[in-house]
Symmetry: C5
Subunit: 283 residues, 5 copies
């Protein structure tokens, strides 16, 4: 077979759905902000102190917010000075968080340079493959009422079991690495035309690398198809930023990354808790 042809479409299992079972959790918003330093520095020390007091008060509340936490990080480089990560129960709560920040006096000294909207997601490749095969063997037609009920059952059990991963705590690590990514849909190499078993195999190998870094890095994957300009967002949290580079470099040789991953901009931040905001802003 020609090296540049697409893998064969899964003819034997043509009636099985190609989309993996997927469960969703927290709504996520990343906000990248730049401090307008000149205007900020022009304020009196007292004005700055009052503005920071208001802002760090709100951030402190958001850090402990019961329906999903927020966290601030100072960004390195020109892409922004601060990145805020918000986990919430819904898009409405994200919108409220956004509005609450926009109404802070501090926001008069911030420009939002970019943002990212997504939902924490777990793609259940192994479970999908097993479930789809079992249902096929039982002769249950995809998308029939019986099939839908069985699938909803699997999803409900997985949501229950995965609850802590779907609605994660904000990891406590010092460094954040965030980037969006796509699966390639090239003319010759197209992730969405691979058979599910092949995608499952590649994702499994990919996961094996992540597992070796489990003690050093906490990863949260969120899906953004239909929500933002890339298909997924990746958040990595670690206490040593070199781990970001080592993990991502090692993964880049994986088939699923080497061939099928396209990356957007990378954002690296250092945690800036509510209590550290004044320091960062020179108050």
């Amino acid at each position: 077979m020609s090296a540049i042809s697409n893998p064969p479409t899964n003819t034997a299992a043509v009636s099985l759905p190609p989309v993996p079972l997927t469960i969703e959790g927290a709504s996520v918003l990343h906000q990248m902000m730049r401090v307008r330093w000149t205007a900020w520095k022009a304020l009196s020390a007292q004005d700055r102190a009052e503005i920071v007091a208001e802002a760090s008060g709100v951030l402190a509340e958001m850090e402990k917010n019961s329906s999903g936490a927020s966290a601030a990080f100072s960004l390195l480089g020109h892409k922004g000075d601060l990145i805020l990560v918000h986990f919430r129960r819904s898009f409405d709560e994200l919108s409220q968080a956004e509005l609450r920040l926009a109404r802070l006096k501090l926001s008069d000294y911030l420009d939002t340079t970019t943002s990212y909207l997504s939902v924490v997601e777990l793609g259940l490749y192994e479970s999908s493959l097993k479930t789809y095969k079992t249902l096929a063997e039982r002769g249950i037609v995809p998308f029939s009422p019986e099939w839908n009920a069985e699938i909803e059952d699997v999803l409900a059990r997985q949501r229950e079991a995965m609850m802590p991963r779907l609605f994660p705590e904000m990891p406590p690590h010092k460094y954040l690495c965030f980037y969006p990514m796509d699966r390639r849909r090239g003319e010759a190499k197209n992730w969405y035309q691979l058979p599910m078993a092949e995608r499952q195999r590649q994702m499994h190998e990919h996961g094996m690398i992540g597992r070796r870094y489990a003690g050093e890095v906490k990863q949260i994957i969120s899906g953004s198809i239909g929500f933002d300009d890339w298909e997924w967002g990746v958040d990595l949290f670690a206490d040593d930023p070199l781990v970001f580079k080592r993990l991502i470099y090692e993964m880049r040789f994986d088939e699923v990354s080497a061939v099928y991953a396209l990356f957007g901009s990378f954002y690296v931040g250092i945690r800036c808790g509510a209590g550290e905001l004044g320091d960062y802003l020179g108050v």
Copy 2:
């Protein structure tokens, strides 16, 4: 046949037009706007209240406009704070709506970050295939006066039958997802070189997925070839935003999407009726 070759051009039916019959309805303009919060917050409460009163009065009128409604949604993320969707009878009416908003006092506190111009469209693939074949069998030459008259007849009947879809009401759902898209014209994979019967087959499979989501999401497709920078605009309306992600993700494995769909930016909004504008703007 080589895996990366184009599908064969339809040699047997070489004289049939490749373009599907298409009917058009409402003219559509999307406007994405950012609130200049700092300037807005600097106004007195009374000024803000007066400005909102004027703006929500106009928006309320537009929501009920008899020749096509408008609706506002608050956007999530940095792409803007508000998105306005206008359905109208003509480009001239869209231009009037645009000017009317530009003359609002509120517009001094809004920047239009982007926009999208299109016309509601229904592509009649099945009807085209049948009509073209029937006319060919009757020996009627494409684009002859007789052919044109028969085609105009088909279009007129379809326009009549599809009137509610061509000039839709503004769907009442809480969430909006808007994105523009193209059909791929790659060097190896080119939608516009597929025979019509193959395009019809792929569009039909695509439609089958949409049908399963019919109760959960309302879709309005508008065409923008010759009007804006992508070929089509897609509006999805739903009461649960997760449905956007599930529908678009499932469709991405379709042949027509996996191979032939290219996507622009995605915009997600929460409905903000005329009566809610003051709340959103902190009045």
Copy 3:
């Protein structure tokens, strides 16, 4: 032969020039402008009236300019509020027109968002093919003095015959559609490597579609190789904007468009004569 290979280079006619005979006419400048509404609305009614009076006076003159007319259109969407189209006898006259507008008081309230520089052009594919063959049969060596004289003769006759198309009147239609385009030079599909006879054939088929729309749309093609960032600019004028969509959509299935056309941004405007400028600007 492999489906993705380039068409064979024209080995039999290897000594014939590959470039088609081309004749040029009016110099053309498109200027897209955004009104700075906030500053504009802050002026007194009297100031606005005076500024519009000056501007519409100059526009009225330009509309009737004897060495090539100008016209203004109000744009739909965020790409700008006004588009000015200038036809002139030379780049120097275009530069004068640009400067004259820049010196208007109204220009303090306009930002030029983009522009396009080109020259009205007719590519004489059929004439080229015939002329090149005839000269070859007569044994005249390309680019010899005799060859050059014969070619210059053909060009002079064509320029004479085509004068009204080379230096067109400003079409009177209500709607304008402007977009720039390239011919593809891909790794596998490369317009500039097709033999001239093949290019002529594809252009001819392309022209056949245009001919069917002749009563509904007026098309002016200008060349911009060496002048601006795309190879050609296309202006369509019509009294029904839906015609733009239908024409361009139908052409997109043509081989020359499906495979070899790459498009830039599309701009759609509604004519705004000198006498309508005040209305548009709310005076």
Copy 4:
């Protein structure tokens, strides 16, 4: 062999360096500037006159600068109002010229929209091929001290002979066309993998076209690998701007341009001498 494969690498001459001998001359900076007309027009006539007097005095000096001239052109379209072309003996002198302009009072009314940094360059393809072969036949090992000495000898003689082309006068023509370009490094078509003899052949054919335009256009090629974002800059000077279009269009059918040339933005200007600056700026 497959039509989309790369040409064979030059196996017989595998030890010959693939890089052509290249000699460099003047350092070149292009600066594209936009006039802030609103602020400029707000000045009193006297202020404008004084500012222009200072600026045209400096430009007049630079036009006659003994270590390399500068010239100003008024640009057509929105890419800028002025383009300055500086030839100098070194990057340090370019930096001095840049600083000297930045310190002009006029610069408070100019925004630099873009720029291009390069060095006049002559690629000696024919000489390289001959020299490399001769040295190989004499058994001299590439990059050995003997080889280096012979090469340095060739370069020195060429630099001497080409001095007027390496450090050119500013051509006196009225119109300027500037654009940057790359040689393609595609997956299937890669200039840098062609054998030198093939590159020499294509460059030679390319040069043949240029030769026919020698009386009408003056071309200066500068190299920018390592200096700016494209590999080369091209300056064309002519008294009829249509020549730019005809030359570049004809060349586009050349194999080296059709397949291997990628182009950036095109800038077209009309000469604006020191003495004409006041006129242009409305003084």
Copy 5:
């Protein structure tokens, strides 16, 4: 084998990790800044002198900073006026340097146009190949505790031996060339799918060219996978800027560059020491 197929994956050594051993050193931040000349020139001479005194005092300290030096260069062209290069022991120290500069009075007259975040990196291709083979021959399973210990041993020895290259002094040369780059992951040519022995061979040939320029140019490679938008940053320092062009042009014909290198923007600067800052800023 087809010319456009990927090289075979290393089937014989399928269990060997594909990622080369890599050691990291200094954290690096590049900051590109533009002077707001109009505002700067509007200051009184005394204000400018005081502001420069403060800034050059801080820059002088940073130039001698014991945990990693900083250096300033004046940029040529519109990409910025100054580029600051910071070497530090950690991202936290980089963040401190960034904040310290942001708090300078001079920063009110600077805009940061772009930046680049990376870590000095040495890829140990030859050592990796040897080590992986040796461990395989000894039957040690990759990523087993024994394997990890052996690898950590190699890395520790290499870090020790390479310390001066991992934490380099700021080279004293007058000119800087900085650019980011990627390894291509194309559909047909994909660096990350080459077997390690093939990558090692190509990198070795690439290094041979660099070696010939060793006396003329100092190169520092930093890795930015996970940190910024390209995979690597390259800094070249030399006393003759033409060397940048010659070295990069010669390397472009290398297989590893011709086929697998993708380049971002190029930045060229002239050293501007703390003591020269006043001169540059016209104080």
